[in-house]
């Protein structure tokens, strides 16, 4: 039988524990900005569901499905995510209108993964003036990594310039006497890459770079450009092209029985939408670089991360085209935001969202290559900045060499 003394001690210690427990939660005060409550987190998004870039709309649909999955499994720290996505048709004035609608009418906590360099440029100043996070923008332009002037804007994928620099570094090391020809798309994407390559080559750019050929995205084919490049007889061709043109380039070069060293930009490294249409025969030994896994690549079939991704697609996007790389992209970006919101805990203020987004340490999503880590800091707003070189062999990419980091700073 317990003595009264002992009972008293037990009662006191229980009280102390109970107090500590309640006191603890009282200390971690709940703080909210517009767009977050005890039960809900509102996230805004802008995508080109219509217009010339509508293929990217799949990214928005994937993200919507991802947060539906999050909600079905209990939400983030007990809060459901409301994902509001609007169409800007890839038009900057429309993007401004939609961003204002999200911030002033729907009152979202943050704007996540809006797509396209022109649209993001258009809304950047507005969102920064309003102090609304413009988080993980879906464009590879270099200018998003500028925490000093735009503390509310952050990129996600590696910048085009840093990828261009990686190719230049590779060539300087492996083929220092190469004569390089560059075929590039005449827009911000193409020009950013070209700048990266030139920066990477440094003083040797003048002698190594023998041709810069540009094409317009409205041209039906790039065949004539390839024929012209062949006449200049370079031994390296860097193809800074979007998927359709990348496939044409690889195919035409093979048709001409020409065998230069070929490098294709990461955006066009999809097996399903580039290598297969170009013909596996023609695509042998083509080089590229990547940071994420390719869903159409057999080597990831038993990868635990990609298995999770596949289960997600089966359940939430059953009608989607699985070889569409946008499904992998959207999943990875959404998972990064999921992590940031988890880290925010009960302090869902806009300032804390940016603070947590800038404190990611060695985070990795299910879809990133092994070894590619997401790292950010108060002065580094470029979450993914490393890539690995790869070579096309048989029907898949073979990764080789080290993970190369190229933190290009904004200028």
């Amino acid at each position: 039988m317990l003595s009264i003394q002992k009972l008293r001690i037990a009662a006191i210690s229980t009280a102390v524990i109970a107090f500590a427990a309640t006191g603890g939660s009282a200390l971690a005060q709940k703080k909210y900005d517009t767009g977050a409550t005890d039960t809900e987190i509102k996230i805004g998004n802008i995508m080109p569901y219509s217009g010339p870039a509508s293929a990217y709309g799949m990214i928005g649909k994937t993200e919507e499905a991802y947060f539906k999955m999050v909600n079905d499994s209990g939400g983030i720290n007990g809060r459901k995510v409301t994902f509001i996505s609007y169409d800007d048709a890839y038009s900057p004035p429309k993007a401004v209108e939609q961003a204002r609608k999200l911030v002033e009418s729907d009152e979202v906590l943050l704007v996540f993964n809006p797509l396209g360099t022109p649209s993001n440029s258009a809304i950047q100043k507005y969102l920064n003036a309003k102090k609304v996070p413009q988080l993980f923008v879906a464009t590879g332009a270099t200018k998003w990594n500028d925490p000093k002037d735009f503390p509310w804007t952050m990129g996600w994928q590696p910048s085009y310039q840093s990828e261009g620099q990686i190719y230049a570094k590779f060539l300087l090391k492996e083929k220092p006497d190469a004569k390089i020809a560059v075929l590039y798309q005449n827009d911000d994407f193409g020009k950013d890459y070209l700048k990266g390559i030139k920066d990477g080559l440094g003083a040797k750019a003048a002698t190594m770079l023998i041709a810069e050929e540009s094409y317009e995205v409205s041209e039906p084919t790039v065949d004539s450009h390839i024929v012209k490049l062949k006449s200049l007889n370079p031994d390296v061709v860097i193809s800074i092209t979007t998927p359709k043109f990348a496939a044409q380039t690889i195919k035409k070069i093979a048709e001409l029985s020409w065998k230069p060293l070929q490098i294709v930009a990461n955006v066009s490294s999809s097996i399903g939408s580039v290598m297969k249409p170009a013909g596996f025969e023609a695509a042998q030994d083509v080089l590229s670089a990547n940071y994420g896994k390719d869903a159409s690549d057999e080597q990831w079939k038993n990868d635990p991360g990609m298995k999770k991704w596949a289960a997600f697609v089966d359940k939430y996007l059953p009608d989607a085209n699985r070889i569409d790389s946008n499904l992998v992209y959207g999943y990875g970006a959404a998972q990064t935001l999921h992590k940031v919101l988890e880290m925010c805990g009960n302090d869902l203020t806009r300032a804390n969202v940016m603070k947590q987004a800038a404190s990611l340490k060695d985070f990795t999503t299910d879809t990133l290559l092994p070894g590619v880590k997401i790292n950010t800091s108060a002065t580094d707003f470029a979450p993914i900045s490393s890539l690995q070189m790869m070579r096309f062999k048989g029907e898949k990419w073979e990764l080789f060499g080290d993970i190369i980091s190229a933190d290009a700073t904004a200028n």
Partner: protein, 337 residues
């Protein structure tokens, strides 16, 4: 008394009664009061949308003068809009010119551009002219991307424009100030346009529209008035472009594609060709209906927009003008019962 003298003595019938191109007195006042009062009860975001509505209305009005007034087609209005927008943006950002002063400059430059473009375009008519202007619209975004101009235009990255504050310390938000500023300019342009079409020049343009040969037989300098119409239309579009750049705070080549030209054309048809107040209705259509279509279905927003458009063209082939006439008819009936 000679037969000629007899004709001259008869009081001339107004060639183009005002009601065919403008609203009546009461209706004008009612619309104006609504336009002035509305922003007092709206959120900033709605005010911004209304500003864009007015700006596109100016651009639609400009096309209306060209097509409804002089009977020429243009699918190249986006090019003039772009030139106006870039003129304002470059003057504001590179030369620190006051935003209000950039608008007349944008107008003059676009007038000159339209006038010069109108010279060769004169030799074409109907669909051929539409194609020539179409070429201008498709070429414009690429011209703006040219490396040669990049220092000024910002190339593919575009230019960010600073939004003006309300002057004299007026207690209103930037959006509200910009709305009233746009409204004043819209009214000025509207009054100018109505008077233009009622003037000798306007009658000359309409004569060309109705029958070019007859007009030239009457002594109208067809070439001059056609290019003049082009120039004026381009100039007004340029002012709209400049206002658009200030309101959106950003210019980039991708903002001014052929899509914009087609949207303006749509706005004119929906509003009623040749009826100037219809520009407001047409502009409302191109600003708000895409949002309605999107809320119906995200994946099929284009199809929904198309369906709405077909229904409108089918039910109201003369656009908003038809509604205005019908309601006027009913109101008169009610009053005179």
């Amino acid at each position: 008394m000679s037969a000629l003298q007899e004709i001259v003595d008869v009081t001339p019938v107004e060639a183009t009664p005002k009601k065919y191109i403008a609203l009546g007195g009461y209706a004008s006042v009612a619309v104006l009061v609504l336009l002035i009062a509305a922003p007092l009860f709206a959120k900033n975001f709605i005010i911004f949308q209304m500003t864009m509505w007015l700006i596109y209305a100016i651009a639609v009005l400009a096309l209306n003068i060209l097509t409804g007034g002089s009977g020429q087609f243009s699918l190249g209005q986006s090019a003039f809009y772009a030139v106006g927008a870039y003129t304002s943006a470059i003057l504001m950002e590179h030369f620190n010119v006051n935003y209000a002063l950039t608008l007349p400059i944008a107008g003059v430059i676009c007038f000159a551009f339209g006038y010069v473009f109108g010279q060769p375009a004169l030799r074409l008519s109907g669909v051929y002219l539409a194609l020539a202007t179409f070429a201008l619209a498709t070429a414009m975004p690429q011209l703006l991307k040219l490396g040669y101009f990049e220092h000024w235009t910002g190339g593919v990255q575009g230019l960010v424009v600073t939004k003006p504050d309300a002057p004299f310390g007026l207690p209103m938000s930037q959006d509200m100030w910009l709305y009233y500023f746009t409204l004043v300019i819209s009214i000025m342009i509207y009054v100018f346009s109505v008077n233009l079409l009622k003037s000798r020049s306007g009658r000359a343009m309409m004569a060309i529209r109705d029958n070019e040969i007859a007009a030239s037989a009457m002594g109208v300098d067809v070439a001059l008035y056609k290019t003049l119409a082009f120039g004026i239309s381009a100039g007004i579009t340029g002012v709209a472009g400049g206002l658009g750049a200030i309101a959106v705070q950003f210019v980039a080549p991708d903002s001014y594609t052929i899509q914009l030209a087609i949207a303006l054309f749509l706005g004119m048809v929906v509003g009623g060709v040749g009826w100037l107040p219809g520009s407001l209705a047409g502009s409302a259509f191109i600003v708000f209906v895409p949002n309605i279509a999107e809320s119906v279905s995200k994946g099929l927003s284009g199809a929904v927009f198309g369906a709405i458009l077909i229904v409108i063209i089918f039910v109201l082939p003369h656009g908003a003008r038809q509604i205005a006439y019908l309601s006027q008819h009913w109101i008169n009936k009610l009053i005179h019962k």
